[in-house]
């Protein structure tokens, strides 16, 4: 391993550098030269007034109940979305890993939501919730269904966002789980079966532990995705009703581009960044520890 690594070292770098350069240009440079310095400024885009604010933006943020409400909302939909999409993604991947007919087609069908733009996804689901379900309820005579106002209360509006987020993310996570399941050596499964480990126990004690690297990746993707949630909630509810489904990213957007307080918006995104970095690092620490080497 080590010898190979040395031999091919320069090729590794050659593969990494183009992507890293793009990444640095598009993200690191704006962040260190833009967002972080801006967060210490009082900068109103419209009036053009700009002055050094020290840590005032951060102090103001501590008592900004709208931002923290949005942040907590991220966490609450995040938990549901992360657990829901990972569990369902794994279950689908598990069953589609068995030899069933047309599984390639079925996998593709599950993956499609992932490649449709979030705005379109939201449009489709809004139509389902607001038009199709009430019509269905009327035809079937199900008053309980017809009387649910899907976007009329914070609870149901959150539910629609969670459901749609899960539906959208499931395909991607499923593909990664599928790839992971296929790396589990057949002989280990065989050996397990001979020793009488079958069904759920086979999944629990053999496949899942060997899937830990995949789980690490998927949790990482879905956790950071949950904190960044913007497009689906924005297109589904636009934060409504009554600002109850506003996510932190939407709040940052409003601060910077509706209220035009760029400095304060930048401070909010630095805080969001620090929070995501902290949570994902903790997650990496714990899931990495449970990874087993073959």
């Amino acid at each position: 391993m080590a010898i190979l690594y040395k031999k091919y070292k320069k090729y590794y770098y050659m593969f990494i550098i183009p992507a890293l350069l793009l990444y640095a240009l598009a993200l690191l440079v704006p962040m260190f030269l833009g967002t972080i310095p801006y967060s210490f400024e009082n900068w109103n885009l419209m009036s053009g007034s700009r002055s050094f604010a020290g840590i005032n933006n951060y102090i103001k943020l501590l008592s900004d109940k709208d931002f923290w409400h949005a942040f907590l909302f991220n966490i609450s939909i995040g938990i549901w979305t992360i657990v829901g999409s990972n569990v369902l993604g794994f279950i689908i991947a598990y069953f589609l890993n068995k030899k069933i007919r047309a599984r390639g087609v079925i996998r593709a069908l599950f993956f499609i939501p992932n490649i449709i733009s979030a705005v379109l996804v939201a449009f489709i689901w809004t139509f389902i919730f607001a038009q199709i379900l009430p019509n269905l309820a009327e035809i079937m005579g199900w008053d309980w269904l017809g009387n649910i106002s899907w976007f009329g209360s914070p609870g149901t509006a959150s539910f629609t966002i969670i459901l749609v987020s899960i539906w959208q993310q499931i395909g991607f996570l499923m593909i990664i789980y599928t790839a992971g399941l296929q790396t589990v050596p057949e002989e280990l499964i065989e050996a397990g079966k001979m020793d009488g480990c079958t069904g759920f126990r086979l999944v629990r004690y053999i496949q899942l532990p060997l899937l830990m690297p995949t789980i690490t990746i998927n949790l990482f993707v879905s956790i950071s995705g949950a904190f960044k949630a913007f497009d689906v909630p924005n297109a589904m509810t636009a934060g409504g009703p009554y600002g109850s489904t506003m996510t932190a990213a939407m709040d940052i957007y409003q601060e910077a581009f509706v209220r035009y307080n760029l400095g304060y918006g930048a401070a909010k995104s630095v805080v969001l960044f620090a929070a995501v970095a902290a949570v994902t690092l903790i997650q990496l620490h714990f899931t990495r520890k449970r990874e087993v080497e073959l």
Binding site: M31, M46, A130, F227, Y242, A249, Y260, F273
Partner: protein, 430 residues
């Protein structure tokens, strides 16, 4: 190895940060464009997106064919216009001519010295006097060409009203309730909704509030901007009473209805009334058969003389104060504000149903029963502006979100009023 992991995790998480980092990029840097190689003066113009791409192209072609020394380039910003505006302002990258929203935005750009004084331009004598206010700076000087008049009101189905035996349009809340009762008795759904989208509630709340502050709008706005004002004005109870009527006679699950659903319900004759603006008429005209939709002022006040049609300027054209070609820019505005220009801007952008009409007397443009009603109000001077356009910039969006709380039943009137008052404080810039 551990360091690498930290680095990798850190890098990936940084992606979340890119949101507010785009302040210094974007925007076409055409403001400093000079003369082209063909000897023509190049002018850049930016407008927001909408279903007017074809009209804009035709306008650009028409203008350039009539003005051989100028090459006008009209760009429709495809993304969010306010993002683009903020970014271009921050990087001092604004085009020669661009669009602003009336009142607050024009005033803020004027006081920052970004836009040109237009008080001697020909349009000043052509547009309706009230419309001119929309393009004035805080000092009362005209800085913008108010290019259109939009209107908000109760859009109603004349046929369904006849079927229900309603002889004249309601002018007070009591008459409005009567009309709703008659419609219900005739098996017709009285009202439709667009309330899933909070911007429609920003419109509605503004249209209901303005009648009660119409006598002194500058005073009302000044008091808000001084931080001492309140939305608890005389008549605010009638605003909420009217919202209660709107809730009572609305469709089931009205909070699930977005603007598309609302316009469709009106256009297909499923509802007799929708509280909306002239922009809904495009959907109405596309339906088959086309319903006969008129408009009347929202009857919010029990004093019918207070209820007027909400008519205000929707877009304002301004000239960059730093343009190198002020005279040519002014020629563009003169062309745009000329109602007799055959095949010109004004005729192009008002030709489709649902288009707003120019803010001046104009014979062309798409006809509709609603337009006829609207003109009756305008000719009688029976109109009020949209007060939300004069709020401190940005508050209008939040006002819709807050009023959505009342419509969804999440908050009572006192909470809504105090939240409006508190939220306004965040938008006051000293």
């Amino acid at each position: 190895m551990k360091k690498k992991r930290l680095l990798a995790a850190g890098l990936a998480a940084m992606m979340t940060l890119s949101l507010a980092a785009c302040g210094s990029s974007g925007g076409d840097s055409d403001a400093d464009s000079g003369s082209g190689s063909n000897g023509k003066v190049k002018l850049s113009m930016s407008v927001w997106n909408g279903n007017w791409a074809e009209d804009l192209q035709a306008f650009e072609d028409d203008f350039n064919s009539k003005n051989e020394d100028i090459e006008l380039d009209v760009t429709m910003q495809t993304g969010d216009y306010s993002d683009w505006l903020g970014a271009s302002t921050a990087s001092n990258d604004l085009p020669d001519i661009y669009l602003l929203t009336p009142y607050a935005q024009v005033q803020s750009f004027a006081s920052a010295g970004r836009i040109m004084d237009l008080s001697d331009e020909p349009f000043v004598d052509k547009v309706y006097p009230q419309a001119l206010d929309a393009g004035k700076g805080a000092d009362g000087t005209v800085y913008a060409y108010p290019a259109n008049y939009e209107y908000l009101g109760v859009f109603y189905n004349k046929t369904l009203f006849e079927q229900a035996g309603i002889e004249s349009v309601p002018t007070t809340p009591d008459e409005f309730v009567d009309a709703c009762e008659k419609l219900q008795a005739a098996g017709i759904q009285p009202l439709g909704s667009t309330f899933k989208e909070s911007w429609t509630l920003k419109h509605l709340f503004s249209a209901l509030l303005t009648p009660f502050v119409q006598d002194d709008i500058p005073g009302f706005i000044d008091s808000l901007n001084s931080g001492k004002g309140t939305f608890d004005v005389d008549g605010i109870d009638q605003v909420f009473d009217f919202l209660d009527i709107v809730k009572e006679y609305n469709v089931n699950n009205m909070m699930d209805q977005d603007s598309t659903a609302g316009y469709n319900a009106l256009a297909n004759g499923e509802v007799a009334m929708l509280l909306t603006g002239e922009f809904s008429l495009a959907t109405v005209a596309a339906a088959d058969p086309v319903q006969e939709i008129g408009v009347f002022a929202m009857p919010v006040s029990s004093d019918p003389s207070q209820n007027k049609l909400s008519v205000d300027v929707g877009i304002c054209y301004v000239i960059n104060a730093e343009t190198k070609h002020p005279e040519e820019c002014k020629r563009v505005l003169e062309y745009m504000s000329n109602p007799d220009e055959e095949g010109g801007y004004m005729q192009l952008v008002s030709s489709d149903p649902g288009d707003a009409m120019p803010a001046m007397p104009f014979d062309g443009g798409a006809e509709s029963p609603a337009r006829t009603d609207y003109e009756t109000y305008v000719d009688a001077g029976n109109t009020i502006p949209w007060v939300y356009q004069q709020y401190a910039a940005g508050f209008d969006v939040e006002s819709g979100d807050i009023v959505q709380g009342y419509m969804s039943g999440a908050a009572d009137r006192d909470t809504i009023i105090s939240e409006l008052n508190e939220a306004y404080q965040n938008y006051i810039t000293e």
